[in-house]
């Protein structure tokens, strides 16, 4: 039977498993509501490195090594790595992972990278090209602010719709060997552009992309929101969440009962002054590797749709007056019944 489903989904015949996973974050994330669930909280934002970029790479390397260790593997057993970050030319990925010497596919999907890397790693494993593959993504408030906004010490006011970039990295070992959670399918998102131009309102830029991929997933799979225990988007924040629910409602799907957003879980917005919530590649990756995985394994949930969301833009495209496009990738995760 064909594993292709509908317009842009896959249902894996032999679903790959998540064998190991890890979440490494910085102090602010450690002080948030999920603080106790992360594997490691690193207090030094530079992680012993000289620059923000190398620090971010270190977060990714640490997460990758821990995920490999938790899977009970050696790094030599990982056949491919799929990894990405937010920086120009994937700086953090390249410098972070070079020591691991794992054949690498470097990815850019903005903050949707966790979904993109999990999608590709699971396709690779399901197709029989790898026994174990690594999927990882990272972001860092220091390197992201420096690249996209202002120096950290510069004083300015952030709008209410702005989000806070998560510092950290999440890593996953996708494997043919049996683990507690399996990836039973994916739906790949396309670029969606509604002409939004405000990079301080990322939620509004990305919500249509999330709506599109979730809608497509329901269509391809012939499912309804009630068929899922949870649908978690990446970093839409307060503003994007409301828009997503409204857009899908207008298309006949009411996800308000099952929807959650990783960006709204990671910080206590009021007390941690994070405005609309968390964002960045690491946001969805570390929330999946901590809270969501725990709930799947404990049996609290059986089946969730994980939908990291990304805003495709650069400082150059913004200065040249182009709009901020969105993209999102859906990964269907199910608990493996013992």
């Amino acid at each position: 039977m064909s594993q292709m489903r509908g317009k842009s989904s896959i249902v894996f015949e032999k679903a790959p498993y998540l064998l190991g996973w890890s979440s490494i974050v910085a102090q602010k994330e450690g002080e948030g509501p999920l603080g106790d669930l992360f594997d490691e909280v690193i207090e030094d934002p530079f992680f012993g490195e000289e620059t923000w970029e190398m620090a971010e790479g270190h977060f990714m390397r640490q997460a990758a090594m821990l995920a490999i260790k938790k899977a009970g593997l050696a790094k030599e057993e990982i056949r491919y790595a799929f990894a990405g970050d937010l920086l120009e030319q994937n700086t953090a990925t390249s410098y972070g992972l070079k020591e691991l010497e794992i054949p690498l596919f470097g990815l850019f999907g903005a903050c949707s990278t966790a979904g993109e890397s999990l999608s590709l790693a699971s396709m690779m494993v399901a197709a029989g090209y790898a026994t174990h593959a690594l999927a990882t993504a990272s972001s860092h408030i220091g390197s992201a602010e420096k690249q996209f906004r202002f120096p950290l010490e510069y004083g300015n006011q952030r709008p209410q719709s702005a989000t806070w970039t998560v510092t950290g990295s999440g890593a996953f070992i996708v494997s043919r060997e049996k683990g507690p959670v399996k990836i039973t399918g994916i739906t790949t998102g396309k670029i969606v552009d509604y002409g939004m131009k405000d990079p301080m309102n990322m939620g509004a830029c990305m919500a249509p992309a999330a709506a599109q991929v979730i809608y497509q997933h329901f269509q391809d799979y012939g499912k309804e929101p009630k068929d899922y225990d949870a649908i978690y988007t990446g970093d839409l924040g307060e503003v994007g969440k409301d828009i997503l629910i409204r857009l899908l409602k207008e298309n006949g799907y009411d996800i308000s009962e099952v929807h959650g957003d990783c960006g709204l879980e990671i910080y206590e917005n009021e007390t941690q002054d994070t405005h609309s919530g968390g964002s960045g590649c690491a946001c969805s990756a570390v929330v999946l590797a901590s809270m969501l995985m725990r709930r799947l394994i404990s049996g609290y949930w059986k089946k969730i749709l994980f939908v990291p969301t990304g805003a495709l833009m650069s400082k150059t495209s913004f200065n040249e007056g182009e709009s901020v496009c969105g993209i999102a990738h859906a990964v269907l995760l199910e608990r493996e019944e013992a």
Binding site: N156, Q160, Y215, I243, L247
Partner: protein, 154 residues
């Protein structure tokens, strides 16, 4: 999707659903924070004139130097950002805000070297203010010159 809003409809929807800063509150805060810097400047000026017996013209120079120094020190301790976050334009507009916008890239880009880091990037934020400040002074100068030549300005 089956039903997609047009770009215009979507933009309206986003406008409706996005929370805004409270403008009135921001203005009040900016008034007091900006005013506090001015008050500090006046205190420095009076001290210089009364205690150190310095002329008014020189005292004003001291005000500038000392406010810039204060802002750079606060930036170094990552405190100036907090003032602006609270005070908005009250922190951005005075000379202290300008100093912050020069000192912060110097700190951030120091790792990229003295030339390509600090040298190239120190004016990334303040650069436009300097450029257009000088350019508008140039235009005003021409108007003034022509005005005096044609007898419009005394």
């Amino acid at each position: 999707m089956r039903h997609e809003p047009t770009k215009q409809e979507y933009s309206q929807m986003v406008e409706e659903m996005t929370p805004k800063h409270n403008s009135l509150l921001n203005c009040i805060r900016a008034f007091f924070v900006g005013g506090a810097f001015c008050l500090l400047g006046e205190m420095i000026k009076q001290t210089m004139m009364k205690v150190f017996d310095i002329s008014k013209k020189d005292a004003l120079l001291y005000v500038t130097i000392e406010l810039v120094l204060l802002s750079v020190i606060l930036t170094g301790f990552n405190l100036y950002g907090k003032i602006t976050k609270f005070g908005g334009a009250g922190g951005l507009v005075p000379i202290t805000g300008f100093a912050n916008s020069v000192a912060s890239p110097a700190i951030e880009y120091q790792k990229e070297g003295q030339v390509f880091g600090i040298g190239v990037k120190i004016f990334t934020i303040a650069g436009p203010v300097i450029l257009y400040g000088i350019f508008s002074a140039f235009l005003a100068g021409i108007c003034y010159f022509l005005g005096t030549q044609w007898g419009w300005i005394g």
